[in-house]
């Protein structure tokens, strides 16, 4: 199978990364991977309310992921689903390793992610946007977190699945990665492939993340040089 939009197997979709897109937020970013668009806003760190959520040893990181009702072919009903609850959780787990949360116990940081348009890869686009938004908020970070999904179609490894590719892939592996620390922070998989293939695919995802990382840095540079 040829890829959509005549992409090469190891090629990302057209990437857009923009920092500082929501005036009200302490930090924000927009990330598009092809037709998939995520917007992230960061509020905090600030004293956390209600107080029962405060943690004694670290900042409470709240991640909220939501799809706009018009973001997909079939309208999404507002509110949390089991899928979105899981994505909130893995997004939080993907971002936490990059942060120094132990520095501000009792504080809270909120990361809100809106998917404006969904065409595969919403969780990875959301993580990319959230990572840039955190940096944009001036929150100190060990590393940025870049994220992309990989799959296998007709025996070939595809980077950054889009649209109908997702229907025919033998597997779907979203990965998040901290490029400087060389560590994986998100790893999920559905499919039916050998362990060797898993390893090779994760390697491909890591390559994709390295490219995304450069785009993230560039976006932050543009944002801050403008100031």
């Amino acid at each position: 199978m040829k890829r959509l939009n005549s992409r090469k197997p190891g090629e990302l979709r057209p990437v857009v990364v923009k920092a500082g897109v929501i005036e009200q937020a302490d930090g924000s970013a927009l990330v598009s991977l092809g037709r998939t668009t995520a917007i992230a806003a960061v509020y905090g760190p600030a004293i956390l309310h209600p107080r029962r959520l405060q943690l004694s040893d670290k900042t409470f990181l709240r991640t909220v992921y939501a799809m706009a009702p018009f973001s997909t072919t079939e309208r999404v009903r507002p509110g949390h689903s089991r899928r979105s609850t899981e994505i909130c959780m893995v997004t939080r787990h993907s971002l936490e390793p990059a942060l120094f949360l132990e520095e501000n116990p009792k504080a809270g940081i909120s990361v809100y992610i809106d998917i404006l348009q969904a065409d595969s890869g919403t969780r990875t686009a959301g993580i990319n946007a959230a990572s840039v938004a955190l940096a944009d908020a001036g929150i100190s970070m060990r590393d940025l977190v870049a994220s992309v999904a990989v799959g296998k179609v007709d025996g070939e490894y595809f980077l950054d699945l889009e649209g109908k590719e997702e229907d025919v892939t033998k597997c779907d592996i979203p990965v998040a990665y901290m490029p400087r620390s060389k560590k994986v922070t998100l790893l999920q998989m559905d499919g039916d492939i050998s362990a060797k293939e898993v390893k090779e695919l994760v390697n491909l995802a890591v390559k994709g993340c390295e490219i995304l990382y450069e785009k993230q840095k560039q976006a932050l540079k543009e944002r801050w040089s403008l100031k």
Binding site: I22, A68, H80, Q117, A118
Partner: protein
């Protein structure tokens, strides 16, 4: 905060505004259409810093029993927490419900959508038109921004094809049947002055706002007083006239 309030009230007593606008002057309006490919219609409207996205999604379903050959329009509004940390997820709050309902009334009463043309099989199956308002940046006057985005999205929406029981969202050719362009104009009262298009600072000190939806023929199709202040009969008359005048200008931003 209190200083700010005093400052705005002082300005208002002279008929002046914090950002030097005239009483009946809008902030800069930017209207973009077709910004979401997955939606049947969409528009992004910025009024100053305020930014609202509206998407139209269509589906089929049953008509209301008392209107068996009319398509159904549903307006929803979400204040995404992206736009403000105060907007938490959960059941929609009063403000979001008011926003959706005021936009709904303006569009509905103006007969914006020709719902008769959305009947597929009388009493059984009609088109549903979901109009979803997504607030991206709340910097005052959401009602006017959302109403403008909704009408723009409707005027540019294209219907998916129906093949037997199935909707083919890939193929959208025919335009959604629309026939009017209601424009909603909001005036806020600060002190004794009435200012249109209040920004967020102004909304924080206003005691009352009156939103007026005006049809192409200058008829009024919806009114909504907001806030805990009051209105004199004279003020109602003044706002109606100013709104009609202003609506003609704003209507031109819809392409």
């Amino acid at each position: 905060m209190i200083l700010q309030e005093q400052y705005l009230l002082n300005l208002a007593s002279k008929g002046e505004r914090i950002d030097k606008r005239k009483p009946d002057e809008y902030r800069k309006i930017v209207v973009e259409k077709d910004v979401i490919e997955k939606a049947e219609g969409s528009a992004r409207v910025k009024i100053g810093e305020t930014e609202v996205l509206v998407g139209i999604k269509m589906d089929t379903g049953e008509p209301y029993p008392d209107k068996p050959d009319d398509g159904v329009m549903i307006v929803g509004a979400e204040f995404s927490p992206v736009a403000s940390p105060g907007f938490e997820t959960g059941p929609p709050k009063e403000d979001a419900i008011e926003l959706a309902r005021v936009v709904d009334r303006g569009i509905r009463e103006a007969g914006t959508i020709d719902t008769k043309k959305l009947c597929i099989k009388k009493g059984e199956k009609v088109w549903l038109v979901n109009i979803d308002i997504h607030v991206l940046n709340h910097s005052g006057n959401l009602i006017d921004a959302a109403a403008l985005a909704a009408v723009t999205a409707l005027w540019n929406a294209k219907m998916p094809e129906l093949k037997g029981e199935k909707i083919n969202y890939e193929k959208r050719t025919k335009k959604l049947p629309v026939k009017s362009k209601p424009i909603t104009i909001t005036f806020a009262r600060i002190g004794e002055s009435l200012f249109t298009d209040p920004n967020l600072d102004e909304e924080n000190v206003m005691d009352m706002r009156l939103s007026v939806a005006v049809k192409d023929d200058d008829n009024i199709c919806a009114l909504q007083k907001g806030g805990i202040g009051t209105l004199s009969l004279e003020e109602i008359g003044k706002v109606l006239e100013a709104a009609i005048k202003k609506s003609k200008v704003i209507r031109k931003t819809i392409k």
